[in-house]
């Protein structure tokens, strides 16, 4: 597939992929839009029904492809639309993060955040903060 230019005057060349649960975090990102809470443009958001739908394989795939960061965002613990999906996510990612680090992918590159449907401002802060954090790490570049 043809690579497209992601960099522009204000953005870094970072590649961030965000998996957002439909009920809280995707709606929270919508809320960020509605209230014009701007955040770095180099994040690409993917809608999933629940953060628990995010297979660790997908996350690893993003990193293998050269993603600088992966954000997984779901409802706050206890508020999952499906009751307990995010509790599973929390466990899976707690195990995946140190493992990635062990493989040489800094664990700061994988973030799990809880963002509710009303927290547009928080969402934009999360993305901005994540980008800042990632900027401190060496860029990963596109996979060979």
């Amino acid at each position: 597939m043809v690579a497209s230019p992601v960099n522009s005057s204000t953005d870094s060349d970072l590649r961030i992929v965000g998996f957002l649960c439909n009920w809280c975090s995707y709606a929270g990102a919508d809320m960020a839009g509605t209230s014009r809470e701007s955040y770095p443009a180099n994040i690409r958001l993917i809608r999933v029904p629940c953060s628990g739908r995010v297979d660790p394989m997908l996350i690893v795939k993003c990193f293998e492809m050269g993603a600088d960061g992966v954000l997984v965002a779901g409802c706050h613990p206890g508020d999952c639309h499906y009751g307990e999906g995010n509790f599973h996510t929390r466990r899976r990612l707690a195990l995946l993060r140190p493992f990635l680090d062990f493989l040489g992918i800094e664990q700061e590159r994988l973030r799990l955040e809880w963002v509710s449907a009303t927290e547009g401002k928080l969402f934009s802060r999360v993305v901005a903060d994540f980008e800042q954090e990632l900027k401190k790490l060496a860029p990963r570049g596109v996979a060979a």
């Binding site: 597939m1 043809v2 690579a3 497209s4 992601v6 522009s8 005057s9 204000t10 953005d11 590649r15 992929v17 439909n22 009920w23 809280c24 995707y26 709606a27 990102a29 919508d30 960020a32 839009g33 509605t34 014009r36 809470e37 701007s38 955040y39 443009a41 180099n42 690409r44 958001l45 993917i46 809608r47 999933v48 029904p49 629940c50 628990g52 739908r53 995010v54 297979d55 660790p56 997908l58 795939k61 993003c62 492809m65 050269g66 993603a67 409802c75 206890g78 508020d79 639309h81 499906y82 009751g83 999906g85 599973h88 899976r92 509710s116 449907a117 009303t118 927290e119 934009s124 996979a143």
Partner: protein, 665 residues
Amino acid sequence: MSRIGVFICHCGRNIAEPVDIPAVMEATRAIPGVVYVDENQFTCSLPGQDSVRRAIVEQRLDRVVIGACSPRMHEETFRKALASAGLNPYLLEIANIREHCAWVHGNDRPAATAKAIELVRMAVAKAARNQALFPKEIGVTKRALVIGGGIAGIQAALDIADAGHEVVLVEREPSIGGRMAQLDKTFPTLDCSACILTPKMVEASQHPLITLRTCAQVEAVRGFVGNFEVDIKQGARKVDQEKCTSCGICWQKCPEKVPSEFEMGQGKRSAIYIPFAQAVPAIPVIDTEHCRYIRYLKFNEDKEEGKAPPQCRICEKLCPPQAIDWEEEDSLITEKFGALVVATGYKPFDPTVYEEFGYGHYPDVITGLELERLMSASGPTDGQVLRPSDGTPPKTVVFVSCIGSRDETKGHSYCSQTCCMYMAKHAILLQEHDPEVQSYIFYIDIRATGKGYEEFSRRAQEEAGAQYLRGRIAKVYPKDGKLVVQGEDSLIGRPVEITADLVVLAAAMEPNTGAAEMAQRLSISYDSDHFFVQAHPKLRPVETQTDGVFLAGSCIFPSDIPQSVAQGSAAASKAAALLNRDHLVTNPMTALVDPLKCTGCLQCVAVCPFNAVETQLSREQRTLAVINEGTCKGCGLCVSACRPGAIDLRGTTNQQLLAEVMALW
């Protein structure tokens, strides 16, 4: 190769200004599989939808991608458009280039354009993997459950029942009526609250289609729209409702007196009681925590030390129809409903966190709701406003607004909406009770936006002589039997000090106790203050993201009476419209097991929150997982737990997600 049509929406200038739409279209044309690209001013408009429909037919499109606002806005709209053009509605994908792009990167056109191009490319990649999905039809249980018997819940129950559907109204207190029953008069008309509420309470109790369940609580909710199964805990009254004639002997003769919850702790009630005179049902309830006989039984059972409580049983001895039933216990009832209306209301903010105001420390610092009871003719002082400390009538009364509201440090950030008006009401009523009363009202802003509200607020100032002082107070302290209120009049920029007889704190309304737990039981969202979240704050104000669950009243946000009634009716009309239908279509986005790949490890069974994974034996006697599509809610937890990749989620398949990721490189 699929034939994908892509439609880029300008959304007026919302998208077209921050995003270079011709560039997006040009880039999109280059994507393999895309055979048609078009743009619209408003794709969601009728002409916009028409252009989509026309293109599907003329271009023989088999997938449609729309670059527009959030799918949470118009996914349904466009699915219908596809269906009307003969295409399966699930062959649609939406690229969210408004909320997730144009609106947040408006200051950087090149970045917004580049991102929009990628979002469209991801949606195209996903759409190419979309499959036609076919919903199933399910029946509807034509009954509604209303949770909460305040004015909003009563209104909702009455309207649903009037529309011809059976309603169960659940209330955890012994009587319906809610907070409105505690009010003396209502603003801005100064109607007697009980006089307008009581007929509605009676109507609800006598309606042939309404079943009242007081002392009852919702314990668990299962199922889905049209087919909810609800566990209700029916608390024991220990009084036989069939036999009781509400003669009142028991509660008059009961020797155990405890502070009355209804009177906000200012009056007493007996251990067997009805919470207030007009209670519906007027059947007393025995308070098992305080009843002497029950304490005696418990004392013996637990073999406690010391002196046993007396074996009172006076109520039982004196009850003419022998209605006291010591044996009655709490019971669990499971019933089916098609729709749920949640109207769990509010509770007043507890001002003790404002230590400097001395609530709970000085008896003459009270809340608005407590003053309400002191003013009520049926209240603990028979409608005479008297100071709790010494029973004298107050002459100087200071009101303080925004207690727990508009104050993030100690309370909530929101405006509680009703306080400005009830403070004005109190000032007017106090002056009517006793013309010598001088009221001072410390306010931040006067918010009087309803019909007749501004006029009412002026009346408090001009006719009742209330002195409005713009500012917060700093401290309340006792001096010579009175209370000194230190504050600031920010309009003159000076500290002020008022020696008051009574200080009334306008405590904010906050969600009722247990709101968050209730939301979790119902799988609906709640915000950081624990108010329930509406499906859309403007366009779907009484619906939730969970189909079939509707909201009314102050559980959404502080509401006054007219607003609560309107919301009750609105929720009722939504519920009735649902119950009027004979069939509903199910969400086809459920999980599916490939039996050839399933290893039978049953990790899916372990993680499924809905017990939707069942097992079957294969012909070779291997255990296989099978999804029950009726109970599967489509969260996809099982998919990501399935190592062999035997499970997939329709609508969000592994192929689709991977295609989205791979489209980025």
